[in-house]
Assembly symmetry: C2
Homo-oligomer: 341 residues x 2
């Protein structure tokens, strides 16, 4: 039976949302896996005590330290060895769990995962991708979104290769399409780095490692031209955060204008409520919770990284994601593909 | 009297929208400047013939060649010397006009401007900024958005300096605030390039050349933390195009859902129409037409670059922008600031 170590202390709404998410997962999945919940006893136990956990495959483990959102990653990993983050990963490394799940400090989780789990054979740099909104079936993953900000062409090519395997194995996308984010479509566009990357992506395509569709631009992402958008971590991180800020920005314009229409008698309150719901529903493709989190791809183990704002539902879906990655042997396939180069 | 050379052939809706924009500008401004309209006689003249231009300060000049949106910039500039683009800039250089305005091929306009006009003293690399949506007063300029994709720290610092002068002189912003786009707020974040840039921006701040507020992230742009967002051209270009694609993406979700509410009798058609208008109005902060275009900052002359989709109103506003930059001596101030370093 698979066993997942879950960081009870990670996330803005932790430990409550983590406890809720773990219980939901175990109940919904009817105990088909075990959960090792790790965190500070005085914070987590009271939340568990109020619940009926007698028939659930749930174990609690005390970890006295906590890595916070404000901790500097490299320092936190060294100085907080007794944290749920470091302990959870160490248990994975020792074989006591098959995957680690956290919605805590992303930088610290990446640093600790790399330090404790190490890299898969052949992987130059583990990477983190994000899910971008999509109307049609499939996925749009932008990679990298902040783990690597000084990428060389060979790093970007490996990101494409890892995501191709991930999408094919874990998301059932038959033919993942890789686009290189650039300032124009033509082959000779962009910096020297991008021109070199273009050539190496072509080579990877000719070896059937990826399906390369060429350069794409910022406005091609929501047009769903590619399922994998490759870029340096600064570009991906900026676009991700910029995109995340848009719903609130637009709502701050739309909501008052609807309210004004109601106040002035031009729109009846019922119609306004219906409209406002349609407006909020419009942002459903921006809902990252259905995925839960993203794997830190390329490390020798499974480490699922969640958004700090994760809800119980997101935590639950992160656990499912971990399970799915193990069943589909994503890491094994990445190691096979990248170690023979 | 100021004289502006306007490219009649530039833009998706050229020459019609250019002719309309020029006539609107001259009428609205009551002939306080002259316009030299340049383009292919057989395309432009018929449009002018239908109009009463007797009392307007308008001169037409024939240019047999046209630089299209599909031309490769460097090649177009060399091979199409008789185009409205190259001719217009040459007339500026020779003193026959005070500024050049075009909504044509941006890359070609930048290449031709640099080639024909040259750089202002002290300027390492001319740059192009974009206007980002803003709710409060002021401007949010992201710089660079595609003119420079391999920036060194000293280039990024100069972009901040030029934009500071531009915003202060031409947009009446008393204290422009510069933020460095990064993956996190802390000083030690990001690539080596960004760390170096951070230091040099601090130095420029201590010399009172700019007001540096530190690192900002993608989600800080719409929060209006900075009036000047400094980044490499790939990042800026990607974010600009990504942002431009969002209204259509959201409308493709919202409009059918409103229609469905009407069809199912849950929303009456009148309320739907009012709501749809509020929805479209929500994108007004995304309307770049009020600015018209952006100056190619750092060249020894005024070259205003418009969006390919420019309307007559945009063309008109680009002419006003050129006028304003000359009156406020923006170029003179940039040369003074950058040549004493």
């Amino acid at each position: 039976m698979l066993r997942f170590a879950v960081d009870a202390m990670g996330g803005d709404n932790a430990p409550q949302c983590v406890v809720d998410g773990v219980l939901q997962a175990l109940k919904e999945a009817e105990n088909r896996f075990e959960i090792l919940l790790i965190g500070q006893e005085d914070k987590v136990k009271p939340l568990l005590d109020g619940q009926d956990t007698t028939n659930l495959n749930l174990t609690f483990m005390h970890a006295p330290e906590v890595v916070t959102m404000h901790d500097v990653p490299a320092i936190a990993v060294k100085t907080k060895q007794e944290s749920s983050l470091v302990q959870g990963l160490k248990i994975c490394k020792a074989g006591g769990a098959d995957a680690f799940v956290s919605a805590g400090n992303t930088g610290a989780q990446m640093a600790a995962s790399l330090f404790v789990l190490g890299r898969l054979p052949g992987v130059l740099r583990p990477t983190i991708a994000a899910y971008f909104p999509r109307l049609q079936d499939g996925l749009t993953n932008v990679v990298d979104v902040g783990a690597n900000v000084d990428c060389k062409p060979e790093h970007l090519v490996q990101f494409a290769e890892m995501l191709t395997i991930y999408q094919r194995d874990a998301a059932n996308i038959e033919k993942p399409l890789t686009g290189l984010l650039n300032i124009g479509e033509e082959e000779n566009k962009g910096s020297e780095l991008l021109k070199q990357t273009y050539k190496q992506l072509q080579e990877a395509d000719s070896k059937k490692k990826i399906n390369f569709i060429g350069n794409i631009e910022g406005n091609d992402i929501l047009r769903e031209k590619a399922t994998i958008v490759v870029c340096d971590g600064l570009v991906g991180n900026t676009m991700l955060k910029f995109g995340e800020s848009i719903p609130r920005f637009l709502a701050s314009i739309f909501k008052p204008s609807i309210q004004q229409l109601v106040d002035s008698g031009k729109l009846d309150p019922e119609a306004a409520a219906i409209t406002s719901k349609a407006f909020m529903d419009m942002f459903q493709p921006f809902d990252v919770e259905k995925f839960g989190g993203v794997p830190f791809l390329g490390v020798d183990g499974i480490s699922i990284v969640g958004h700090g704002r994760s809800s119980a539902r997101a935590i639950k879906n992160m656990i499912y994601m971990a399970e799915h990655m193990i069943e589909k042997k994503v890491n094994q396939h990445i190691a096979e593909a990248l170690s023979d180069q």
